[in-house]
Every structure is written in C-alpha cells, then in structure tokens.
C-alpha cells in the first residue's frame, strides 16, 4: 500500500464524511437551542437541487452555493415557524418537511430541467484539492468556528441556555424565541453547505440517501458538541469510504457491506449511553408563563 493510496483514502474519506459532518454541525446548533431537527435529510435534498440550478443558471458554482444556503435557511424557517411559533412536536414537523421535500425537489427538478428524477449535468464544479471537492476542507475551519461561537461568545452562551433551561434564560432577559430561531436557521444554512459537499455534477432523486439521519446519530454520539459531532461523522464517513473502496475485495455479500454504517450507528448509540446527555430542553417547547 503506497503513500499516494493512503492520501487518496484520507481525502476521499473526508469528501464522503463532509455532507454528514456539515449536517451534524447544523444539528448541534439546532438541538443546543432545544429544537430537534430531523428535517435535515429533506432539506439537504432540496439544497442540493437548488445548488445545481443556481450553478447552471448563473454559470457559477459559488452563486449556486449562495442559492443553496439561502434555500436551506428558507426550508428550516418552515421548521422554526411550526415548532417554535406554533409549538408543534418537533419530530412531527420534521417528518412532514421530509415528505414535503421529496415532492418539492422533484417538482422543482421537473420545472427547472424538465425531468423529475434527475437534473442536467452541471459543468460548474467547485475547485478540486487533492482530487476531491475542495469544499470538504472547509470542514476544518467550520468546526473551529462552530466551537468558538458556541462556547466563547455571548450568542453561543444564550443559544445553549435556551436549550438547557429556557425559563432561567427568559428570566435573565434572553429572547428564547429569537435564540431558537437562530439555532434552527443556522442548521438550515449548514444543510446548504452539506448539500454542496454532497453534490457531484448533477442532482438525482434520493441522492441524500439517509445521510441526514446518520448526521443525527452523529450529533448524539458526539454528545451535542461540534467537535464530537464532526468526529462521529468522520467515523461514519470513513466506514463508508472503506466499504466503497474495498467492497469488491471483501468476500461477503454486498448487502451486508451496505448495512455496515447503519449497524455501526446502532451499536455506537447503544454503547454510549450514560455518557451522552441531551440538552435538558431538547425537543421540548417553551411557553412563557405556562404552569
């Protein structure tokens, strides 16, 4: 095994991990603010499509990225309004948005490209670095920024406080609603970047293929911490890379190899209990002056 193969494996693994990792970072912000966001999956599907559309229409993949981030924010805004303003159960809203996203992305694909299940080929790609989508390397500064924002800024402190104890935060004058909106919208924006790291050269229906859900497992495994969540995402991503590279050389049926990341996720979740604690108010709605 020579050195170039090792570099290839490491780089490829980063590329495959990054959609999961960016989505997981989004999940951390949302859940730290107390909103469970299982709509990550669906939102990524839509942002990936709008990225392709933006890149082709404006002939620049960077504008495509802006469009994708904007779409992610818009989609997550639905989740924010439904869960925070209308105080609907977070999982219910997330499931509904995932259903909505399947239809929306296919509908948009039909209207943009005239076909329902895949887009045109997009010739405007992100620059390559070490043979992979260079956007994947953004992950490294992204983790640092996320950790800094969450732990070293007033904004981060307030965000965490509304996920941990909204009553106390409210008493101290923190705007609980605004903070929760911020957490959810940040997760939407990060879904936009996640979609951009996922995208190859065209959009295909169901191309997210469960990465949004794996990202949620990574959030728990990473103990709702940006660094932990990204490391967990790398675990899943590299496991998948290993599978892709060695699939043909392993003498066991392909279906078992396909199961591997999911079995790993369940085993990992089952193994970490007691050491991982969700924010106290995660998934619960807060109502001022409620009994």
């Amino acid at each position: 095994m020579d050195i170039s193969f090792l570099v290839y494996f490491l780089a490829k693994g980063l590329e495959i991990s990054s959609p999961i990792a960016f989505a997981a970072l989004g999940g951390v912000f949302s859940e730290r603010a107390g909103v469970v966001n299982i709509a990550l999956e669906g939102i990524m599907g839509v942002t990936t499509l709008t990225l392709v559309w933006g890149a082709i229409t404006f002939q620049s993949v960077w504008i495509g990225l802006v469009v994708a981030v904007f779409t992610g924010i818009l989609m997550s805004l639905i989740h924010a309004v439904v869960t925070i303003t209308f105080k609907v159960d977070h999982v219910v809203s997330g499931v509904a948005i995932n259903v909505f996203s399947i239809g929306l992305s296919r509908f948009l694909c039909q209207s943009f490209f005239g076909a329902e299940t895949q887009s045109k080929i997009n010739p405007y790609l992100f620059p390559k670095l070490l043979g992979i989508n260079s956007l994947a390397f953004w992950l490294i500064p992204a983790v640092a920024i996320a950790a800094f924002v969450l732990y070293k800024t007033v904004f981060g402190l307030r965000l965490r406080s509304v996920g941990e104890n909204p009553e106390a935060a409210d008493t101290l004058g923190v705007n609980v609603t605004a903070m929760r909106y911020a957490g959810v919208l940040i997760s939407g924006a990060l879904c936009g970047i996640a979609g951009a790291t996922l995208f190859a050269d065209k959009w295909i229906t169901n191309m997210v293929a469960g990465r949004g859900f794996i990202a949620l497992a990574a959030v728990i495994f990473g103990r709702w911490d940006p660094t932990g969540a990204v490391l967990a995402s790398l675990l899943f991503g590299y496991a998948d890379t290993f599978r892709i590279i060695f699939e043909s050389r392993i003498p066991i049926p392909g279906q078992f190899v396909q199961m591997f990341p999911y079995v790993l996720a369940v085993v990992v979740l089952a193994g970490i209990v007691g050491r991982s604690r969700a924010p106290a108010w995660d998934g619960r709605n807060y109502e001022k002056g409620e009994d």
Binding site: I38, F86, I97, V99, G103, V266
Partner: protein
Amino acid sequence: MRQPKRRFSSHFLLAQAAPFMGFLASMVVLVAIVIFMRENPIKAFEAIFKFSMSSAAKLGAVLSISIPYYLSGLSIAIAFRAGVFNIGNEGQYFVGGLVGALAGVYLPMPTALHLPVVVIAAMLGGALWALVPAVLKAARGISEVITTIMFNNIGLALVNYLVNGPLSGMAKGVSLEPQTKKILPTALFGKLNGFFRSLGWKVPDYVYLDYSLIVAIIMGVVIWFLLFRTRQGFEIRAVGTSVDVSRYAGIKVQRVQVGAFLLSGAIAGLIGLQEIFAIRGFYTYNIASGLGFDGIAISLIAQNHPVGVVFSSLLFAFLKQAGYGLQLSTKVPNSVTYAIQGLMILFIVAINAIIVRAVRSLRKKELS
C-alpha cells in the same frame, strides 16, 4: 398540551376542525400550483375526479389502495398513542412481509389454517424488527427515531440479500426480478369483489379488494377496542399523554411503551400482505416502498385515532389517484402530491395548535 376535555360541544367541534381546514388549505396550494403551471384548475379537478371517483372501478381502486395505507397509519397510531415514534414501519413491513411469505411458501397446510398462520407470521416478523429499537429505548433511553431509521436501512439490505441469495426461488440464469418461490395456493388471498357485487356495488374483477381488507378491518376494531375499552389501552394513552404522571400513578412506563412498540411493528408487518398474497403471489424486494412513511402522515392527520385513520387513508389513496390524473391530463407532475401531503400535515398540526390555544383561552374566559 393534550386535547381539551369534551365539556363544551362547540369547543369539541372546533377541536376536530383542524384536519378539514388543513385539507382545504393544501387544496388551495394545489390550485395555486395548477394556475402557476398555466393549467386550468377546473380541467385539473375534472381529471382528478375522473381518476378517483367517476366509476365503481375507480372508487374500488381508491378503497384497494387505502388498505395498506390504513394498516400503516394504524401501526403508527398505536405507537404514537404510547408516545413512541415508530419511524421504522418501513423496515418492519419488508421483514414482516418476507416472514409471512416464507410461511406461505414452506408450510403446507389447509387454507383455513394457512391464512391465519401467514398473517400471524407477518405480524411476528414485523414485531421482531421493532424489537431491538424498542428494547434500546426502554432499557437505555436511546431515541427510537434514529434507531428505527437505521433499522429500516438494515432491514431493506437484509431482505435484499435473502431474496437474492438463500431464499431465492429462481432457477439460475433466469433474469426475473429476485423473488422467493411461489406462495402455496392455500395461502393466497382471494378477492371479495363478488361479495361486493352481490351487494350491488359493481366493482370489476381487476380491482384488488382481497382478504387484506378483512385483516385491516379486524385490526382496526381490535386496536380501537384495546385503546378505548381496556386497562392496557388506558395505560398506553396515559403514557402517551404524560410519562411523568403515568410513572407517578404506578404505570410501568417502559413495559407499556415496549408493548405498544411491538404491537405497532406487528401491524406494520401486515402492510405488504395485499401486494404479496393477493397481487403477486410471491415475495420480492420490489414490493411498493415508502408506505411506512406515508403511514406517519396518515396517522397524524387522523390525530392518531383508529377511526380517523379510515378517512385519512382513504384521503391518501384518493390523493395518489389524483396525482396520476393530474400527471396524465395536465402538465402538473405527480410529485406535487408528495409536496401537498407534507404541506397538509404541517397545516393540520399548525392549525390544531392555534385551535387548542384558542379553545383554552375561551375556556379561561368562561371560567372567570
């Protein structure tokens, strides 16, 4: 925030209005999309009508499609009632269907025995696939939302392997879709079309109104009775309303949730029966997928009530046919119906939240 007590009939009616208002709101969106695509809304609704209810055959098709929808919605509803989010009924029906099919293929016995045996086998298979997430939730507090999604993927891959490998019923070199051996004739589901025709409803023979309709009706009645007429059902509803209060009242919360979870999985195991035992006569990896996720929407729209699920599953069957109608007669693509389904849930839950708050403040006023 549970539904208000049924003290004032006007408030009770108001609380039931959300599904209708949500449906209307999503239909308004549909009309907007149709107009946006420069199609005539009247023409679109004519197409929908033509495809869903213009004849006994079309109505029969809607009823037929609603059978797996009903079982899926019922499966989700019973779990929801206990505060369990069973997003895994997708995997549960793939596994349950396979177990049922195996009982149909490999256990020769007389029809009177074989039919209940395959139904029970399918239920056991579905419950089996819910077992690990249920235990992980109860024993270790792991969110079932994530484990069931993982188990969906694991289950689909496992079934794919089994049907391609050890349980394949095909001679080597035959390029059919991978499938099990043919199910024995004693286990195949017959049709009830003749019975319906004798009642004066002229459904043609090609519509599948088979024994799975009977299974669905029996399950609906059983679940309704369990939920609203037994102590276990009361405990399930109590746990779903408030885990803390239930625990304080001495209910074994974990045991109730595991029970409801397994029951939900067992019912999910039945979702594929119609396709496997009535339509195809063998099991394949290519049975319709996605019904499990539809069930979540169907149950939510019905506010997790076994009777309400009858209407919401018919509604979804209608929407499915409506989607085909739109696709064939207008430029509006079929995918719009998915978007509309998602929106409908959002509208219904949001409107419901508004109504619940309005009713509460009304009641406060009346009391003071």
